[in-house]
């Protein structure tokens, strides 16, 4: 058998193949049968041959015995030859009592040794003296004849069977041709003429319809059904093709529509992204502007004349305009506008977990419900769309578009919903940002207060000892690094204890404040740190101030306090409040740390205290 891909497969009728197989199998069967029958025949033939041998022996027994008795050896030989010529006798052998051996064979070529075991051995007795054995006759089966007979038998059977097989094969071929292949060929021809398209003549077998259906009928019916189905299929295919063609024709438009819709979508997404992007790292104070931009984008996208956000104010029981774009023409402050719930149709009431979607187009005002008219009137427009804005499931506000009606089942509905969501986010964000801004400011204020509190003397507002410590270290290092001058003044209100005792602590505090004021007024330059170290003791850190200048400044200070003329009745120095000042300046070779400098200043102050209301300078 050739492969399917073989280019041309020669045609060979089924009947031929069938006959070939029938012949082959009948040949095999014939051979096997012939073998079996030949085997049986062999046994039969052998028995038959033995009978013939017995018959032959019986026929010649007396004459042979007589010949032997009469020593008529030529006759015996002739008789033996005769015996040997008996049909199934291959060889005859005569052994006389007197030791003679006569041998006769049918075949000249056969050996005279008898050729194996004799098939028959007969004693020959004298015709005159029956007790006298004159010889023994041995007969051998003619194996060749036996084989020839078997051959002939086998050939006869073979021939018969072969003829039978041949006739049977031919009959089978004829029957197959008549019953099957003729019709199969007809079916093949019919199938060859079948064209897709117009309905053909249905397949009909050219034969008398047998009473029972057979495979051919089944085949014909199946083919007819197939053909019919094929036809239907083709018709359907055609209609589908037509549809497809039409569809294809409309496809360009569809693609265009789709492309534009996609483009629109993309645009929308781009817009949304742009809108949302603005909120990234947006300074809180600009949040509202960003929301306005978002609304502008929405309005532009949906072709709305105006787009706005209404936030519900639960306390005020109404909607406030959170943002609107473009801004209201009349320039009114939006915060002031409140759409009171009482003025609104009930469908706009914020209800938790209930979406609001109202789209109104006044193209046919007559059909509109009253509420819609009210809404249109409210917005002063011909068409509008109002969508709820939800944050965490709660309706917190409304997004409205003026001049356009986007119905909830339109293609833009989803986008609008998304916009509403974005708007919700924007609102949320805006609120959050605003809250954040406020919180930040509060925090900053608190921090500043805290810092002031921690570094300044609460009574006088001057730097306290802590800040002074920080500043002195800083300035000392800087002076050491730069080799710049640094001076420090130590001040002490003279007889302040007596002042307190005389005037009370409140007056004392006031005195301290006034001295502090004086200090602040004198030392306001950058880097100059006047500080209250505790009680009535003050210090001033003077960077970049040389010793002479420091002394002078100390004098100025003493002078300033003197000039304030604060009464101090209990003072031993004067009637007014005075101060003593010790000044010290950094000497690089001497002062390893600021404390030494401060000690110098302290020592100077101590000396000044000896006289009070004076300035003493460390040397």
């Amino acid at each position: 058998m050739k492969e399917d891909g073989a280019p041309i497969q020669p045609f060979r009728p089924l009947s031929k193949r069938l006959v070939a197989w029938v012949l082959l199998y009948s040949a095999i069967f014939t051979l096997v049968m012939t073998g079996a029958v030949a085997g049986l025949h062999y046994l039969d033939e052998r028995d038959e041959a033995l009978k013939q041998l017995q018959f032959a022996a019986a026929s010649y027994r007396k004459s042979l015995a007589s010949s032997l008795w009469e020593l008529d050896m030529p006759a015996a030989r002739l008789q033996l030859d005769g015996l040997a010529n008996f049909p199934m006798v291959g060889q005859a052998e005569l052994l006389t009592a007197i030791g003679q051996r006569i041998h006769a064979s049918k075949y000249a070529a056969a050996g005279s040794d008898g050729g194996g075991r004799p098939a028959l051995e007969v004693e020959l007795v004298s015709p005159e003296h029956p007790d006298r054995v004159v010889g023994r006759l041995r007969l051998y089966i003619d194996q060749r004849a036996l084989l020839r007979r078997l051959e002939a038998d086998a050939l006869r059977i073979l021939g018969g069977e072969a003829v039978k097989g041949l006739l049977f094969g031919m009959l089978l071929a004829w029957l197959i041709t008549q019953l099957v292949t003729r019709h199969v060929s007809h079916i093949a021809r019919w199938a060859g003429t079948v064209q897709p398209g117009a309905p053909e003549q249905p397949l009909a077998l050219h034969r008398n319809r047998p009473p029972q259906r057979d495979e051919l009928d089944q085949l014909a019916d199946a083919l007819n059904r197939l053909h019919q189905r094929l036809h239907q299929h083709i018709v359907m295919q055609k209609s589908l093709e037509t549809q497809l063609r039409e569809h294809r024709d409309g496809l360009a438009q569809m693609v265009a529509d789709r492309t534009s819709s996609l483009e629109r979508l993309r645009e929308f997404h781009g817009m949304i992204i742009t809108v949302l992007t603005r909120f990234i790292n947006l300074p809180p104070e600009q949040a509202s502007i960003a929301v306005d931009h978002g609304l502008a984008a929405f309005g532009g996208y949906f072709d709305a004349k105006r787009c706005g956000l209404l936030m519900h104010d639960d306390a005020a029981r109404g909607y406030r305009i959170a943002n609107v774009w473009p801004p209201l023409r009349d320039g009114a402050r939006v915060d002031d506008l409140l759409l009171a719930d009482d003025d609104l149709p009930p469908m706009l009431f914020p209800v938790s977990h209930a979406k609001i979607w109202i789209s109104i187009d006044a193209a046919d005002p007559a059909t509109l419900p009253e509420a819609h008219h009210r809404l249109l009137a409210l917005f002063r427009c011909e068409a509008c769309t109002v969508v709820s804005i939800e944050v965490k499931g709660d309706t917190v506000g409304l997004l409205y578009l003026i001049g356009v009606a986007v119905s909830s089942d339109s293609a833009d509905a989803k986008l609008l919903q998304l916009a509403a969501q974005v708007a919700a986010n924007m609102l949320d964000h805006n609120t959050a940002q605003r809250n954040l801004l406020l919180a930040q400011q509060a925090l900053q204020d608190a921090n500043r207060e805290l810092l002031t509190l921690s570094r300044h003397d609460p009574l006088t507002g001057l730097a306290n000892r802590r800040q002074f410590e920080e500043a002195k270290d800083l300035e000392f290092r800087r002076a050491l690094r730069a080799g710049s001058p640094l001076s420090v003044l130590m001040c002490d209100i003279d007889e302040f204890k007596r002042y307190n005792d005389t005037y009370g602590h409140a007056q004392g505090d006031d005195c301290l404040i006034k001295v502090s004021q004086c200090l602040r007024n004198l030392f306001g330059r950058a880097g100059e740190v006047p500080a209250r170290l505790g009680g009535e003791e003050f210090a001033v850190l003077l960077p970049n101030v040389k010793h002479d200048d420091a002394v002078r400044l100390a004098e100025n200070l003493r002078q300033a306090v003197w000039e304030m003329r604060l009464p101090h009745a209990a003072s031993s120095v004067s009637d007014r409040v005075t101060i003593s000042v010790g000044a010290a300046s950094l000497r690089h070779e001497l002062h390893r740390d600021f404390d030494r400098l401060l000690r110098d200043a302290d020592e100077a102050l101590y000396r000044a205290k000896e006289t009070r209301n004076c300035v003493a300078a460390a040397c």
């Binding site: 020593l71 008529d72 050896m73 030529p74 003679q100």
Partner: protein, 376 residues
């Protein structure tokens, strides 16, 4: 011929060629013969017995002015009939035919002779038994059947058997039981000559008190076959002392077998024979053959004498149409010696055949046909 006398036989054959059939046919008679006779010889032209028969007839024919023609059938009885047919169809037919009822073919030949008007005389053997019933006696149903002259074969058997027993007893050739164990090798079962010889022998052998007769076999006048049979018989009967043999050739065969078996003919194994060929005579003289009868070969010549007489008006009818004279004679060594001396060359022309004719010798009451008579 396979015999120990090969050179001698060759001479005989040459002689036969010169004087036999050809000579008889071609040689014109010296003087005008009285009548013509054709002898259809059943034997072969080189067969001693039948050759002797012819040779013995030839001088007789010459002396009696008979034109003799001898046709050999070469031991083929069908050919005998064929030869008779040829003779009968000849334009010039012989006056007489001498026929031999060899293998019972005589009847057919007689019919041919009767139909073509040739007078026939049987010699050596004649129609007997059933044949005789069919054909009837001579000169009745078959007018041209003149009669017959046959040797008394029974006598031959009897004579030789008696002599064999006598010789055995004389030479004490007996078995350990003191008896003579004898087996017979006869001729064939068909020819009367053979059967009668055997019958004569059996008459003696089966009745003689000193004889244990073992068995008869038929050698068919064949030497080789007789040899084989003798061999077989000796094997079968270890006590065997003697063979009665119906002919000289078969006797030679038996002797060969005995010699091959280590026996000495004439000493511990005796043989008898019938015939008077030079070979057998020689054997008789040597003692290899102990009993021999012969002379029957002369029958042909005596038939010529009878035809001569008949032709010349001296019919033998008064003596009987079926003559059975004492043609056989026992040949002892002396007689054999004499016969050989005189007829060793088979030249019988010294015999005066005319003296046996009753026409020429009317004083003869009977025909005195015998071998001793010839030798006188």
């Amino acid at each position: 011929m396979r015999c120990p006398f090969r050179p001698f036989v060759r001479i005989l054959r040459q002689t036969a060629a010169a004087c036999g059939l050809g000579a008889a046919l071609l040689a014109p008679p010296a003087q005008a013969a009285d009548f013509s006779v054709t002898f259809i010889n059943p034997g072969r032209s080189d067969e001693p017995y039948w050759r002797s028969a012819t040779r013995f007839m030839q001088p007789a024919a010459r002396q009696l002015d008979i034109q003799l023609e001898v046709l050999y059938a070469e031991r083929d009885h069908l050919k005998m009939i064929e030869l008779m047919k040829q003779v009968a169809l000849r334009p010039r037919k012989p006056d007489y035919v001498i026929l031999v009822n060899e293998k019972l073919a005589g009847g057919e030949m007689l019919k041919l002779a009767e139909r073509t008007g040739i007078k026939a005389l049987f010699a050596y053997s004649t129609l007997e038994g059933e044949q005789l019933i069919e054909f009837g006696p001579p000169r009745q149903k078959f007018k041209r059947w003149l009669g017959s002259i046959t040797p008394n074969a029974h006598d031959a058997g009897r004579l030789t058997a008696e002599e064999l027993v006598r010789q055995a007893l004389k030479n004490r050739v007996v078995a350990d039981d003191g008896k003579i164990h004898v087996a017979a090798i006869a001729g064939d079962k068909a020819t009367p000559t053979g059967t009668q010889r055997l019958a004569g022998a059996l008459e003696v052998l089966t009745t003689h008190p000193a004889v244990v007769f073992e068995q008869t076999v038929h050698g068919n006048w064949d030497r080789a076959r007789a040899k084989e049979q003798a061999h077989g018989l000796m094997a079968r009967y270890p006590k065997l002392n003697a063979f009665w043999v119906a002919s000289d050739l078969m006797a030679y065969g038996a002797i060969e077998a005995a010699e091959a078996a280590g026996r000495t003919p004439g000493k511990d194994m005796l043989f008898s024979a019938v015939n008077n060929s030079p070979e057998v005579l020689q054997a008789r003289i040597q003692g290899r053959i102990s009993a021999l009868a012969g002379g029957h070969f002369t029958a042909g010549a005596w038939a010529l004498v009878m035809l001569y007489d008949y032709h010349h008006g001296k019919d033998f009818k008064p003596l009987g149409l079926d003559l059975r004279p004492q043609l056989f004679s026992l040949l002892d060594a002396d007689l054999a010696e004499r016969f050989l001396t005189r007829f060793g060359d088979e030249n019988f022309s010294t015999i005066d055949f005319r003296r046996f004719s009753r026409r020429l010798h009317p004083q003869l009451k009977q025909y005195e046909f015998s071998l001793p008579a010839v030798l006188k």
